[in-house]
């Protein structure tokens, strides 16, 4: 496969948007194209992550209309859906086509507009990414699934649930601290000095997950211009290379051997490391899928950054902050930055690229700039997992 590079990035302000989904996606795409200095006619295909557009705006087939909104002509435009990992699926598919030599330049990204649905209906539609036949009638929600995982984490590692909750809360405190410094984040200038007690004492959504253990519902879009590595330097002095990609699939909760060790995530991360020829020790920063606080701990362990059961203490100990073993979610993560589900995977890549360019917000920027970064995106209750390993230089 040919090497693939990211030459342009775009990202709308996350939070409540008045624009419609296609407008948000066009905003992010044009920003990415301006960033890359490429013209519309150079784009050969479009890959768009969008999880629930049919419920949000009564729109299916949004990718074709996005291509039309940008006057991209009759190029192939494909919607990719893997629930909250939709954009990462889109980026991986786009990169595969470029890598395979079919296209030299594509747009890949995602969009979501969930806030207008309101908590009740949004929870219903998000829960559609649970296994409908068995988890549907139970009334399981995503916070519910991760609440079950948190209780199991406590049992597996013989750590009292109250202690697990404190360590989980430290994820929210950290990610909100970062989000509060990020002008594109939903909670910019908000919740930056959150305390562990605030998280623990906020309302239960699904016991033991509280409101402040959760990421918000969000609107937003993010897009990337992907290009073959041999062409990339024509457009930019600082292409960021996609060194490794992984994707894994899970299934119904009841078929999982252990909710705290999802095989889909372990397998996807391994796939990415293998392709990159790198291991966790080589990675300088992470953007991981902290849809709920416990999810960040599980992600770090599955990806091999901490031993089983050790991410909780490490996080509470500051090991996932700047200066620790591995800075995690310097953008604010899903918790601080917001989680427009169809866009999140592209947003994660966007913030890794920003870090590598030295363009992250002051206070969140890692110094010196990271050489290797990695993203982790999760769809559903471990149903779709994607990982990207990015680097400032080719292997």
């Amino acid at each position: 496969m040919r090497d693939v590079a990211i030459i342009g990035i775009g990202h709308t302000k996350f939070g409540r948007a008045t624009k419609m989904s296609h407008e948000l996606f066009s905003d992010a795409t044009l920003q990415a194209m301006d960033d890359a200095g490429v013209e519309l006619k150079e784009i050969e295909a479009l890959f768009q992550g969008a999880a629930l557009p049919g419920f949000e705006e009564g729109q299916v087939m949004p990718a074709a209309f996005s291509a039309a909104d940008l006057n991209l002509g009759p190029i192939p435009a494909t919607r990719c859906e893997g629930a909250c990992a939709s954009a990462s699926v889109a980026i991986r598919d786009g990169a595969m086509w470029v890598g395979a030599g079919e296209y030299d330049m594509v747009i890949a990204g995602g969009v979501e507009k969930a806030l207008m649905m309101g908590t009740s209906f949004a929870s219903r539609t998000f829960a559609m990414a649970c296994h409908a036949p068995t988890e549907g009638p139970v009334g399981l929600t995503f916070p519910g699934v991760f609440a079950m995982a948190a209780r199991l984490y406590s049992i597996n590692y013989d750590m009292p649930l109250d202690t697990v909750r404190e360590k989980m809360a430290s994820v929210s405190v950290k990610n909100h601290r970062h989000g509060a410094l990020n002008p594109l984040a939903q909670f910019y200038k908000k919740l930056g000095d959150l305390k562990v007690e605030d998280v623990i004492n906020s309302k239960f959504v699904a016991d033991p997950i509280t409101l402040l253990d959760c990421c918000p519902f969000s609107d937003g879009a993010s897009a990337l211009v992907l290009c073959s590595a041999e062409e990339a330097r024509k457009y930019t002095d600082e292409p960021i290379y996609i060194l490794g990609m992984g994707q894994g699939s899970g299934g119904p909760l009841s078929k999982m051997a252990d909710l705290t060790k999802p095989v889909s995530r372990i397998s996807s991360a391994k796939m990415a490391f293998k392709q990159a020829g790198l291991s966790p020790e080589d990675i300088d920063m992470l953007e991981v899928h902290d849809c709920f606080t416990i999810a960040e701990l599980i992600a770090l362990e599955c990806m091999g950054f901490f031993d089983w059961g050790e991410a909780a203490d490490a996080t509470a100990d500051g090991q996932t902050e700047i200066g620790g073993e591995i800075p995690v979610n310097m953008s604010g993560g899903l918790i601080g930055k917001g989680h427009p589900i169809g866009a999140t995977g592209a947003s994660q890549v966007y913030w890794v690229v920003k870090q590598m360019r030295g363009e992250a917000p002051r206070g969140n920027q890692i110094d010196p700039v990271p050489e290797y970064g990695m993203t982790d995106t999760l769809g559903g209750d471990f149903g779709t997992l994607c990982h990207f390993i990015l680097g400032r230089s080719k292997k």
């Binding site: 929870s123 036949p133 988890e135 009638p137 916070p143 519910g144 699934v145 209780r151 199991l152 009841s254």
Partner: protein
Amino acid sequence: MVGKEREEMEKELKGYTVLTHAEYEEGIKEGKLLGLRCASCKKITCHPMPVCQWCSGRSLERTELSGEGELMTFTIIRVPAEGFEDDVPYIPCLVKTKEGPCVVGRLDYDAERASQVLISKQVKLSGAYTHKGDKFSGGTHTCPVFEVIG
């Protein structure tokens, strides 16, 4: 002459499902947890799948599980999805059956008293919960309900 006899094509139509999901749900309503026994590895698959959940074996026959097992984990839903407002608070749970497979269901227990000590307790199938469904659920669906027995 090219083309295939239509009668032959009709004869070839065949389902690969030994136990359908609808039959599984009917079983729960009758107080039975139905599953499949694999001829290759002898293990039990539940909820039903077209192949063995352990070894992917294709030779399956129907069986009935004891309905007993161990509570693996649970949660108490306080903020429900649309359509579940009347149930709040309720307790989704994951049960590892005596026969091996796990099943997701509801736990029949006082939500205000439910705590971490429930985990690992023995439970048994005590009923069925049928949700009324909505425009998106493809009709009503039923899940197992468990009670703590020790």
